[in-house]
Symmetry: C2
Subunit: 198 residues, 2 copies
């Protein structure tokens, strides 16, 4: 039922690169695929336990971590690798992703264009920030990970973000123009209404 536990596969993929603890996994995910994938501890830790029980991963070692607590380092098992490869070959199941901005805009029709305009401006500013960050990440990766066989795939995922954000910026500009037009029309109508009332 529901969708299949994708956290499993993020864990398997990451552990195929090298053994890690739950905390380390979250950090590794954040630092490599963080712009399109994140895992919360509330998802990660129970999933790790289940995966260990299922024999997909195994406790590699326990270390005294810098920070007192015992760090449980996991590694993939052969079975885990098999399951991961199976997932990698399975087609992606598409799904509609919720877009709260568009929902607010749609309902904003009944309130007036001013708030909608503010939402668009905020979204635009945020997208520009992300765009800068992505560009910097891309440059850093090219410099520091030269020759890494993962680099072209890395770059591909960043390009996806870049193209998506650029399209979003263009849409923001369109939306701004449309909403400003609607605001002007509304103001003109109001003014006419006042004149009529005289």
């Amino acid at each position: 039922m529901a969708r299949e536990n994708t956290c499993r596969f993020a864990v398997l993929g990451m552990l195929c690169r090298k053994p890690m603890s739950g905390y380390g996994l979250r950090r590794a995910i954040e630092q490599t695929v963080g712009h399109f994938w994140q895992e919360s501890y509330g998802n990660l830790y129970p999933t790790l336990e289940r995966m260990e029980a299922e024999g997909l991963i195994a406790l590699d070692r326990e270390e005294r971590s810098p920070g007192g607590r015992v760090r449980k380092v996991y590694r993939v098992t052969t079975e885990g690798r098999r399951v991961c490869a199976g997932w990698l070959r399975r087609p992606v199941v598409p799904h509609v992703e919720r877009n709260e901005l568009l929902l607010k805009l749609f309902f904003g029709a009944r309130v007036g264009p001013k708030d909608s305009l503010a939402h668009v401006e905020r979204s635009r500013a945020e997208a520009e920030g992300l765009l800068d960050a992505l560009r910097r990440i891309d440059e850093d990766a090219r410099r520091e990970r030269e020759g890494d066989p993962e680099l072209p795939y890395w770059h591909l995922s960043i390009r996806a973000g870049l193209l998506g954000l650029e399209a979003h910026l263009r849409w923001c500009d369109e939306a701004r123009a449309t909403l400003q037009g609607l605001a002007r029309a509304q103001a003109a109508k109001k003014k006419r209404g006042k004149q009529d009332a005289r």
Copy 2:
């Protein structure tokens, strides 16, 4: 805890347009904002109950529905309108959306480019289908809803989808070229390996 119940606001926004049943709400959401927002019954019905208890919506009437069962039609209360307006003014909280395609691609680095290429091709075909559907929806709306004050907002949300999908198609083409290049490089390396082994 967790994120706030956005289903509430989708319900409020839709009921501000006109009173509806749970089933009708789902259909209305599907038919207007379905390309970027969906609600499941498992979310909708319990949410409706809670909202009624909280006084955000009220039972408007019960009808014998075409289809035997009793249809519970809800309407917004004044309090519901107030809460909805408050939500409309509140800024959108941004969050990283998961992208399974990119995750498979990233891990696909360790398997080889062939499966990745298949994923990209499938995604491209799917995006083209969606693009066609959106264009048709846009044309239909312009024809049938001429003069509707909601129309410009409607068009705006469709433009967002259109621009996003076009960007995705461009990315797919880039990705295809990159992956084909990697596949060729891998094949050449294999061939060299064979020659060396002689």
